[in-house]
Symmetry: C2
Subunit: 251 residues, 2 copies
DNA sequence: TTCGATTTGTTCGTATGTATT
DNA sequence: TAATACATACGAACAAATCGA
C-alpha cells in the first residue's frame, strides 16, 4: 500500500483539488452557492491562477462544480435538468429526441435493519438501522418502474415519511437540501429477471414478464456510499441508455 | 442550424483539435504510432504549446490519443487491456475485483441486405449490402453471450469469413488494423427479453429464461456509425456494469 | 552505468477576450 | 459604463520519464 495521507503527496494542483473536495464534503459552501472566485482561491492556496483552474477542471468535468463565465463557479445542484439525466438513464424506445422525467408515486416508507446485501452495498454492518422507501415511477402517465430505496438511518436523521412525501424536488435534491448529502456519482449493475408477483401487480403487467433490474449504489464525496437502490424496469416500451455520452469530441 | 463549416469557428484550441481529428480520421498516423511531438505540432499549427496541449487534452480524455511522459503521444489501440474494458461491460455477479475477457466462438458469417432497423442504426439505406457475423462468447469456459454483428459491406471491403476467423486480435482491433476504422465510442440501449429458441439452444439455457439484450451502435470519428451489434446476455451468473467509472475524482 | 537529448507534466506569470451584473 | 469572473492564448522555466549513445 502506498501512503494514506490525504494531502501532502502528488502534484500541487491535485493537492489543491483534494483541499477543495474536503471543503465541499465538509459543507463549506452550500449547493447552488458560488465558491470564491479563482483569484481569491488562488491567493488563499498560494498557487498561480493556472494551477487553481487546473484543480477545478476535474471537479467541473465530474459535474461537482459548475462554471459560468461572468458569474462564478457554483456547487452543482440536483434540481437542474442538466444534472437530472445524469442519474436517470431510462427513455422511451422509439423516442429519439427529448427525454422525459418520471412522476413519482409514493408506495411505502419503513424503518428496518439492513440485510447482508444492503449492508455490503452501503459499507455498513448487517443489521444496522436503515430506511426503506418504495415508489412507482410513471412515464407517459403509466407506471413503468418500481423503485426500492435503502439508506442508512444514521446519515438521514430526521427523515420521516412526511418529510419524504412532501419534498419539493427530486430525491437526490432532498438528500442535498435537507441532509447536506450530495450524490455525485452512481454505479449500476444490470440483469434480467422475471417480474415478481408483487411488482407485476404494482406495474399492472403479467407475471413472468422479463424485466430489467438495476442495482444502484449512489456515492457522495470520497466514494462514500449513501444509498442502495433496486429498480425494476418494464422494458416493453422503455429501455435503459448506457454511454449516451458526455463531452462529444469535436469534428 | 448553425454554420456547417468544419474549422473556422470557435476558439483556437478547438480548431486545432478539429484539425487533429481530421488528420486522425484520414489515417495520417496509424494506430499505435506516435504523433509528432507537442513542440513540432505547435509550430506546425502556429499556436503556443499551451494551446496545442489543450487541443490534445480532450482527445486524450476521450481515449482517442494516449500520452506517455518521456515517450510521446500515441494513437490509441484496441489491443491494450486498458482500452478493452472500455467496450466490454459484462462481469461475473460475485466478482468484485479482476474482470475477465470473453473467449469468442465463431458461429456464422454471411452477406445480406440491411433491415430497416439495421439501416437506421447504421445511417445507411434499407437494403444496403451488409455483413452479418454471429458469435458465442464464453466466460469462465461457459457460453454466456450471443452476439449478432452487422457492418456495412462498403466500409469493410475484403472482409471475408477467413479474414474474420483468423484475426489475431479483438474484433475492433481487426477493424482498426485491417480496415483503418477506429471505434472510439459506443452507445447501448438495454432491455429484457425472453430467450428465443435459437439463442436458448446456443447458450444451453431453458427457453423463457429472461435475458438482457444490449443493442449497440459503435462510432468512429465525427460520430459516424460503423457497426450495429445485438448482444443477448445470460444474467443468471453475470451482469452488465454501467457507470463503473472513468476518472475518479481525488479525495 | 552514466549522460544527454527528447518528450510530456507541472507551475508560474501576463495579457486579452467575453459574459454577467 | 464599470467592475467582476471565467475563458483563451502566449511564453518561460523546470521536473520527471524515457531512450539511446
Amino acid at each position: 500500500m502506498p501512503t494514506a495521507s490525504p494531502t501532502p503527496t502528488g502534484p500541487l494542483y491535485r493537492r489543491v483539488q483534494a483541499a477543495l473536495t474536503r471543503k465541499l464534503a465538509a459543507g463549506a459552501w452550500r449547493p447552488g452557492e458560488a465558491i470564491p472566485s479563482e483569484t481569491v482561491l488562488a491567493r488563499e492556496f498560494n498557487v498561480s491562477i493556472g494551477t487553481l483552474r487546473k484543480a477545478v477542471d476535474e471537479l467541473a468535468a465530474g459535474n461537482i462544480l459548475v462554471r459560468q463565465q461572468g458569474r462564478g463557479t457554483f456547487v452543482a445542484t440536483h434540481s437542474e435538468d442538466r444534472t437530472l439525466f445524469h442519474f436517470f438513464h431510462i427513455a422511451q424506445k422509439s423516442g429519439s429526441g427529448a427525454r422525459e422525467l418520471p412522476v413519482h408515486e409514493f408506495l411505502s416508507f419503513r424503518e428496518a435493519k439492513a440485510t447482508a446485501a444492503e449492508a455490503a452495498a452501503l459499507g455498513i454492518g448487517a443489521g444496522t438501522p436503515v430506511l426503506r422507501m418504495e415508489n412507482a415511477l410513471k412515464l407517459g402517465g403509466k407506471p413503468v418502474i418500481f423503485d426500492g430505496i435503502v439508506v442508512p438511518s444514521a446519515l438521514f436523521k430526521g427523515l420521516t415519511e412526511t418529510v419524504y412525501r412532501n419534498r419539493e424536488s427530486t430525491i437526490y435534491g432532498l438528500y442535498q437540501a435537507r441532509f447536506g448529502i450530495n450524490v455525485i456519482r452512481i454505479s449500476e449493475r444490470l440483469s434480467a429477471e422475471n417480474a415478481s408477483p408483487a411488482v407485476a401487480k404494482l406495474l399492472e403487467i403479467p407475471v413472468l414478464t422479463p424485466m430489467l433490474v438495476a442495482k444502484r449504489i449512489a456515492y457522495t464525496y470520497n466514494d462514500t456510499p449513501v444509498e442502495y437502490r433496486v429498480s425494476w424496469l418494464d422494458t416493453r416500451e422503455h429501455e435503459y441508455l448506457s454511454d449516451l455520452w458526455k463531452g462529444d469530441i469535436a469534428g
